[in-house]
């Protein structure tokens, strides 16, 4: 059944047709694992007369503040899983998204023992084949060009032009026989038992890394995360966290005066805005943008929108006195915008320019910046960018 897609730019699920039943099971599993959109859950207790009362269940996660990497590290595996599964907060620091380094290492070791291939090996084999196809195609192009030159030189046309291979029809010429699972000798069982112990030796060195914006959102809005001082291992109060998150972006110096254009605050305004509207907000560095907006999360579908934060100074004097290298509206060039739009159009994401207005430093003093209440002075406006091609977009 093909679902009606009203917006032409909404990406279709790429796996729907090919997976069929398997996709349905995985989707059902994902719906179970990622059922909660936020870390807080509700328990229901029934009291007399059939009335129910809900209590809020707080997972009370913990993380360590690391000023050098400007991030909060969640090292407890249970807290990592909770924060990832309920809202897709954070990223495994040696994984692509969810912390999976330990299971990948275990899989590699198990594959070495049993002779089976891991998914990384299958991907590597596919990439190797793709590389060989590209080489064959490049050689065919060179040969065809040489043939055409030769024919032109002697004044004739090429009668049987060489065929340039296409991705759909190419087959590797000298494919080596497929390696089956290696034969396991009979006396391997005892060695297997010894080797299983090796799997326990792998120490998990991965943690879930939260950006200051994600961490502050969890602390301020839900109070479900406590940030510990890395030296004393004591919980940092909200005020200290708010100031620490700002000062880590400032150059060290004798007088650390807070400014309203601090990158932490400007990014947090946008992050908070879209999270409050229900979007899952993740880093967009892989697509040359600041944030990616997901409807539910990365495991369900690709991001629909790519967000670029454009800070706008209310007071031009603040812009002149700024020591930060911001991409403010004065520096945006047409070529940059065109590049970012092209990158995102190719991956079927709509580009959004998010203008964050930075209040004047006269209006918002450094004392006011010492508390999150100053966020009320910032505002957000959005502009969607789509390339207009007059010849094609007549409707």
């Amino acid at each position: 059944m093909i679902e009606h897609q009203p917006l032409p730019y909404r990406p279709m699920s790429r796996h729907r047709r090919s997976e069929g039943k398997k996709g349905g099971t995985r989707r059902a599993e994902n719906n179970k694992i990622y059922a909660h959109p936020l870390p807080l859950t509700f328990s229901q207790t029934y009291v007399t007369l059939g009335l129910s009362r809900h209590t809020v269940l707080n997972p009370c996660c913990e993380g360590y503040w690391d000023p050098l990497t400007r991030s909060v590290w969640v090292t407890n595996p249970k807290d990592s899983a909770t924060l990832w599964q309920r809202g897709f907060f954070g990223k495994g620091n040696i994984s692509r998204s969810e912390p999976s380094w330990l299971s990948r290492q275990v899989n590699i070791r198990k594959a070495e023992l049993s002779g089976k291939v891991t998914s990384e090996e299958i991907t590597a084999k596919r990439r190797e084949q793709r590389k060989r196809f590209k080489m064959d195609r490049a050689n065919a192009i060179v040969t065809a060009a040489a043939e055409a030159e030769e024919a032109f030189r002697i004044g004739k046309t090429v009668t049987n032009p060489i065929m340039i291979p296409s991705g759909a029809t190419w087959k590797p010429a000298d494919e080596a026989p497929e390696k089956g699972p290696s034969a396991i000798p009979q006396n391997h069982n005892k060695q297997d038992e010894g080797r299983d112990g090796e799997l326990d030796d792998i120490v998990d060195v991965e943690h879930l890394q939260l950006t200051p914006q994600e961490a502050f959102f969890l602390i301020w809005c839900f109070d479900c995360l406590s940030v510990l001082n890395p030296q004393t291992a004591e919980g940092m109060p909200l005020q200290e966290i708010w100031l620490a998150f700002q000062t880590c972006y400032m150059d060290p110096g004798p007088s650390l005066q807070l400014r309203p254009d601090n990158p932490f605050i400007v990014n947090y305004v946008a992050y908070h805005h879209y999270r409050s509207l229900g979007w899952t907000v993740k880093s967009g560095v892989k697509f040359c943008v600041d944030y990616l907006l997901y409807k539910r999360g990365p495991v369900f579908d690709h991001a629909e929108f790519a967000l670029v934060i454009c800070p706008v100074y209310e007071d031009p004097a603040d812009s002149d006195s700024s020591t930060l290298c911001f991409r403010s509206t004065q520096n945006i060039s047409w070529s940059w915008l065109s590049t970012v739009n092209r990158v995102n159009s190719q991956v079927m994401k709509m580009l959004i320019l998010c203008y964050v207005t930075i209040p004047s430093s006269v209006l918002v003093s450094p004392e006011m910046l010492g508390s999150p209440k100053c966020l009320a002075y910032y505002s957000v406006r959005e502009v969607t960018v789509r390339r207009f091609i007059p010849a094609r977009m007549r409707d």
């Binding site: 690391d66 050098l68 990497t69 400007r70 991030s71 954070g90 990223k91 495994g92 620091n93 040696i94 994984s95 380094w101 590389k131 590209k134 080489m135 490049a138 120490v203 060195v205 991965e206 890394q209 939260l210 950006t211 200051p212 994600e214 890395p230 060290p252 990158p263 993740k282 880093s283 560095v285 892989k286 290298c325």
Partner: protein, 118 residues
């Protein structure tokens, strides 16, 4: 961070380069543990005053240089030229652009105009 197994390898440069120490640590971590690079060494580049890494990619014998930097940094051509000089006149190196959530994107910088390989 001090308790992390990757800390000893980069600790000597963290004090000298407090601004990019975090990027160096994250890149070292990713290359040695995540990407499976061999013989990852931490270097100090004199002309451009930045730390760098050198290692061998899996499936290759040649060691390549990696220059870590933050996404929010302002990079200049003089820095790139200085890096090429400090790396002993190599024709290409990788730039590791790190973000606070530990995402790293690697870009290959080559000297002069270089045609894509395939």
């Amino acid at each position: 961070m001090e308790k992390h197994p990757s800390f000893p390898a980069v600790s000597h440069l963290l004090k000298k380069y407090p601004n990019v120490g975090g990027a160096l640590f994250q890149t070292y971590n990713d290359l040695s543990l995540g990407q499976g690079w061999k013989d990852v060494q931490v270097l100090d580049l004199q002309t451009c005053s930045r730390p760098a890494l050198r290692g061998i990619r899996p499936g290759s014998d040649v060691s390549v240089y990696v220059l870590p930097c933050w996404l929010s940094e302002n990079l200049t051509m003089s820095l790139v030229h200085g890096a090429f000089e400090d790396m002993g006149g190599v024709t290409e190196f990788y730039m590791a652009i790190t973000a606070e959530d530990s995402s790293i994107v690697y870009y290959k910088l080559s000297k002069g105009l270089v045609k894509p390989q395939l």
